[in-house]
Symmetry: C2
Subunit: 311 residues, 2 copies
């Protein structure tokens, strides 16, 4: 019996990362990584996507001609694309990170190129989908996941399906109201920078220069009290986003991914303390918050999982 293989493409504004996995979520070859060069015209970028898929097909000893070899059967291709996208129709919308590809019917185009079923969702959903099925959420039925990076991404996975919602906007919590603005003003990379600046400048005549979340994390590593305080405050704000999400969905587990989750040890204690106060009694006792564990591969594994589960 031939092994079933699924291709996943993590298609962002900076890079295109393409890989292949079997039905257990195990990678079957090294992924292929190319730069997006997002300002090139759409045809060139599309070619990079198909080239990287072909690169992976070659790597798994399965060229387009050999798709139906006896050893392997490539079952489908999943695309995880930086949003906003029209999930149902597989079209890129007015995505700021892909300025030349607005209204590009990517799913149809890839379908025309490979004799395989093609699936498409947004990259943040795919990242959490990969983690939910084959990473930190493995074996769980309902998962709420967050990607904490430049902004706050969120995705909900139930019964092995991504909740897309009525208008493909489910789990898009970034504009939700919090304090004087939105939750994303506080729970995001720029949020961390702002919190740090306020803490540093308190009572000082001279203004501190802007620092990135990564720099503030490095300062915390060295024991810098302002940086440590920043991450604690971030933990308080993150707990707000988590409590609304857990109270609404009551998931089996919460997963934190994205670059900012690398600072977990600096914010987790405060976040846990605040979160438990804001939850219903049973989730307060039981619902665990964990870090993502697939690293940079989560996105294409999640995209490949779209093909695995035909969703």
């Amino acid at each position: 019996m031939s092994e079933k293989i699924y291709i996943g493409v993590d298609f962002g504004g900076t890079k295109i990362l393409t890989g292949a996995m079997n039905d257990k979520g195990e990678m079957v070859c090294e992924p292929v990584k190319v730069s997006t060069n997002a300002n090139d015209d759409s045809g060139k970028i599309f070619k990079r996507v198909t080239d990287s898929i072909e690169g992976v097909l070659k790597k798994i000893d399965s060229s387009r001609l050999a798709v139906n070899s006896e050893k392997y059967k490539v079952e489908g291709i999943g695309l995880g694309v930086t949003g906003p996208i029209d999930i149902k129709n597989g079209v890129i919308l007015e995505c700021p990170q892909l300025p030349t590809m607005h209204f590009y019917p990517l799913k149809k185009m890839v379908e025309g190129f490979f004799p395989l079923p093609v699936y498409m969702n947004n990259d943040a959903n795919c990242l959490i989908y990969g983690e939910a099925l084959f990473g930190s959420g493995k074996g769980m039925n309902s998962i709420v996941g967050f990607t904490l990076g430049t902004g706050i991404g969120c995705a909900i996975v139930m019964d092995k399906k991504i909740l897309n919602g009525s208008t493909d906007s489910a789990a898009e919590i970034w504009p939700s109201p919090y304090l004087d603005g939105t939750i994303e003003d506080y729970v995001s990379g720029s949020g961390v920078s702002k919190i740090y600046k306020v803490i540093c400048n308190a009572g000082k005549a001279q203004q501190t220069a802007d620092k990135t979340a990564l720099e503030i994390s490095q300062l915390a590593e060295k024991g810098d009290p302002d940086a440590l305080k920043t991450w604690e405050e971030f933990g308080t704000h993150l707990a707000v986003a988590l409590s609304w999400s857990v109270n609404l969905i009551d998931p089996d587990i919460v997963i934190l991914g994205g670059s900012i989750s690398n600072a977990y040890k600096f914010f987790s204690s405060r976040m846990e303390k605040e979160l438990r106060k804001h939850l219903c009694p049973t989730p307060a006792e039981r619902t665990k918050v964990v870090c993502a564990n697939l690293g940079a591969n989560a996105g294409f594994i999640g995209a490949a999982s779209l093909a695995l589960n035909n969703v």
Copy 2:
């Protein structure tokens, strides 16, 4: 062919309302209403539940002996019980409104009494479930509903199923953090009273007496400026609960029920204005917020729908 009939029991701390419907959600007789007398011992209260079911069975010309008559077939019984309850096992937990029935295995007991399948969920979920299937949400696939009464109840219905969550706590948003406390401190009957008191007492030496949400609604009806201002402020707070919920679930529609939704005309304009600011672009344009329309019958219709959909 016999008509399929489903019995629903709306079992609260004050009253037990029991009715019967067909598979289109149409009532097939007048419901039976009795007082709970919640301080009586559990055996007496249980008898009131079974008596009211028998009363309804008689009304539909279908006694226990005639359950399988040729004209009717009673297919099952649904129980909507004031919470907290253990949904999976059909057990009443430490419910403050049913002090003598803690850990009462109601579902099993009713199963022992009638030769019919029995289903159980909490009353707030059933109310929204009834509205979702046969009231304001009819024809929609995903619904977020709120019961605005003494507290803030919420339920999520997707694909004709109530989302129960991992620990039967899905949609329990009441402890979610907001301003100096929880969202329920503001979006609830007592929240309305508090808002009114603060508005009335602003800059006055003498304290205003407490007023209920109903009284504040009656004052608003007469054009009282403090009451009108109270409902506008309530609209702002309600918009916060709604925006987190809509941003997470991205439902087809939002339904507002419960006694406080009767003041809709006083808070809706402000609520709509604030809500649209806090949503993602597409839901901000498309997602409608409407009032419940089944009135007091929503609870037992929702409970009967548990039996209809075997959930």
